[in-house]
């Protein structure tokens, strides 16, 4: 029996929604089988990684806090990718946003006032956007591939953190450890639900995604991004500037990554440390795809990714599943998701064995 792919006349909306769900379910089934075969408690692993974070109400706050930066960055990236601008340096822009906010926090150390946090937020957004402006400038002026420049700049920014926390920004009371001092009260993000760790960044993430959804689906800006991304030639006839779109895509995605950096450093971290880059920027690329480049989908995807992170730690403490297994689960989920993409544009037909197959 052979199968062949047949192009659909129109992308299937049903598949847009069905494939991410199918990817998660397939990961759970295949993961349980594979891990059982190689001698682990496969069913237990799936239960702890995917279900416990949802059923245990203690874990909900963790999901919110972990998902928030992923949703904010993922939203920005989904806008950029819709415009066919491949910013994969969100991690670097997140770092620069965090560093800019840290700079404000250290400069205002010991001061009080309601204006410090908003100033940090502005600095974070500007820091991220400014770092994304480098690939934008190089792309629009010199046609340099933004995938490569944004990626390279990420690795340079990691070194900048190391340098700053080791030398000029080192905590004078920190026993020589490479980290800044803890921010003063006014530079720390407030917790919004008492006795939990849920900080202001969590509702901000939801608002950002909702606003982005509205803008992308209802405004000229959103229309421009999508048209330029889908059909650059047609867009040019329609009077949309491709360069302007590239700038907007990178500034928005960089700015949002920078915002996430500010929220992280002012919220959960409350000081800059070498461990600040935790791959949120890279994970958010996955989140953007899992969410089908739709801000509402990104909310869902951010929560799913957060579940696997939180669940991975649950599995470590409860059934002793090693940390690396979580990575394998995440990768598997992505593989299934990416494989499912094809079903949006193609359908599978069963054909007789003698017919020439198109598939590999």
């Amino acid at each position: 029996m052979q199968f062949r792919l047949e192009k659909r006349r129109e992308p299937s909306q049903a598949m847009v929604y069905a494939t991410p769900v199918a990817a998660v379910v397939l990961t759970m089934v295949v993961g349980a089988i594979l891990f059982s075969l190689i001698g682990y408690d496969g069913v237990g692993a799936v239960r702890e990684i995917f279900l416990t974070p949802l059923t245990n109400s203690f874990k909900w706050q963790d999901l919110g806090v972990k998902a928030a930066p992923l949703i904010i960055i993922g939203t920005g990236l989904s806008i950029a990718y819709r415009a066919n601008v491949w910013n994969i340096g969100a991690e670097g822009q997140y770092i620069m946003g965090g560093l800019a906010a840290t700079w404000v926090a250290l400069a205002t150390y010991g001061m009080t006032g309601w204006w410090i946090l908003p100033l940090m937020l502005v600095a974070g957004v500007l820091g991220g956007a400014a770092y994304a402006a480098i690939p934008a400038l190089l792309k629009t002026r010199l046609n340099v591939n933004e995938i490569l420049t944004s990626l390279m700049l990420t690795y340079a920014s990691v070194q900048l953190i190391y340098y700053l926390v080791r030398a000029p920004w080192k905590d004078p009371m920190g026993m020589g450890f490479p980290q800044t001092r803890i921010f003063s009260e006014a530079a720390r993000l407030p917790t919004i639900i008492p006795t939990t760790i849920v900080h202001l960044g969590v509702p901000i993430a939801i608002v950002v995604a909702l606003v982005a959804w509205f803008v992308m689906s209802r405004s000229v800006f959103g229309y421009q991004m999508k048209v330029v991304g889908a059909a650059p030639h047609a867009a040019r006839y329609g009077g949309f500037s491709e360069n302007k779109t590239i700038w907007l895509a990178l500034l928005v995605s960089g700015g949002l990554a920078g915002m996430a950096g500010m929220l992280e450093v002012a919220g959960p971290f409350q000081r800059m440390v070498p461990g600040f880059p935790t791959n949120y920027g890279f994970t958010a690329i996955i989140v953007a795809f899992l969410g089908r480049l739709n801000p509402l989908g990104v909310i869902f995807a951010g929560i799913v990714m957060a579940i696997t992170f939180v669940g991975g730690e649950v599995a470590q403490t409860s059934i002793g599943l090693s940390n690396s297994a979580t990575g394998v689960f995440q990768a598997m989920m992505l593989f299934f998701l990416l494989a499912g993409d094809i079903l949006i544009r193609y359908r599978i037909r069963r054909v007789a064995p003698q017919a020439a197959g198109v598939a590999p």
Binding site: N145, L148, L153, A156, A167, S324, A339, I342
Partner: protein, 308 residues
């Protein structure tokens, strides 16, 4: 600096450069075919653990290199199937492949970290003992393999019909398709070659640099290899020069600090960031020159979608 020290530095630089050279050579061929595989780091880790386990069990270094290559190919086929057969996004798939390789190698390597193995010895043991000639002949087969592959890939791309087809597929997949070449087939071969080279590059860690297994022991060198391909503007001989230059940058910091002297005052973070910053500068320079032959393959990173 005495001659002895210069020779010693060269030997260390060559060692540090070899894995990034091998991985980057593979990625160069992949990218020349129009595919961007960002999973190099993941494939290297799979190669590293495979090589370690084989050499630990059998003691045969060459078998270990071979199996590392095979493991790299197997890993790269996941990428190939998703991006080529199913036209999935290459950037996302490559990142997922790195997550996969990191996790898989750590899972497979549990229980192997307290085990010692031996390095692959020099190819010409007699000359390797000579205080001077060791600078040319004192290396293990992996080093000469890397150099041989530079020439072989240059010759392949420049002088062979198959190389021409591969470049055509990377520059203009639709035309290559319309004159009857299998774009997907060529890209599969390229991706598998890239996987094999990344696997061997990973094998360099336990066999050439430090005879042990440690989780994530490639420590980001897969990304340096990706940078290097761009730095070399997709040319094999520039890649060779670039690899040794990156190796020199990575190693000089350590020599400067261990020996004192003015260079030791440069912050180590600047040394670490240099390869990436230099790559951005090179990207800018080649774009300014607008020299078509030095630019990125036109189809890099874009899926092949015949419009029929």
């Amino acid at each position: 600096m005495s001659t002895d020290l210069i020779i010693a530095v060269i030997i260390t630089v060559v060692g540090a450069s070899t894995p990034i050279l091998i991985a980057a050579l593979g990625e160069l061929v992949v990218e020349r075919a129009g595919v961007l595989n960002l999973g190099v780091e993941g494939m290297m880790l799979v190669g590293a653990i495979t090589a370690f386990v084989i050499v630990f069990v059998t003691g045969n270094h060459y078998l270990a290199i071979l199996m590392a290559a095979a493991a790299g190919v197997a890993t790269s086929l996941i990428f190939g199937f998703l991006t080529l057969s199913l036209s999935a996004n290459q950037t996302a798939t490559g990142l997922a492949l790195t997550i996969f390789g990191t996790g898989l190698s750590a899972l497979a390597g549990q229980g192997y970290s307290a085990k010692p193995v031996t390095l692959l010895g020099p190819l010409f043991p007699g000359l390797a003992a000579d205080p001077f000639w060791r600078v040319l002949f004192g290396y293990s087969a992996l080093v000469y393999f890397a150099l041989f592959m530079v020439v072989a890939i240059w010759y392949f791309l420049k002088r062979t019909r198959a190389g021409l087809i591969l470049r055509a597929v990377g520059e203009n997949d639709l035309s290559a398709h319309s004159i009857g070449y299998s774009v997907i087939g060529v890209r599969y071969m390229a991706v598998m070659f890239g996987g094999a080279m990344a696997g061997i590059a990973g094998a360099c860690f336990p066999l050439l640099l430090t005879p042990q297994w440690a989780e994530r022991m490639t420590a980001g060198r897969g990304w340096i290899a990706v940078a290097l391909v761009v730095f070399a503007s997709w040319r094999p001989f520039r890649l060779l020069a670039g690899a040794y230059l990156f190796g020199l940058v990575m190693t000089m910091e350590l020599y400067a600090k261990a020996g004192g002297g003015p260079l030791s005052a440069i912050p180590s973070e600047l040394w670490a960031a240099l390869p990436y910053l230099a790559t951005v500068v090179v990207l800018v320079l080649i774009s300014i020159r607008r020299d078509a032959s030095t630019n990125a393959p036109a189809c890099l990173g874009k899926p092949f979608l015949p419009s029929n």
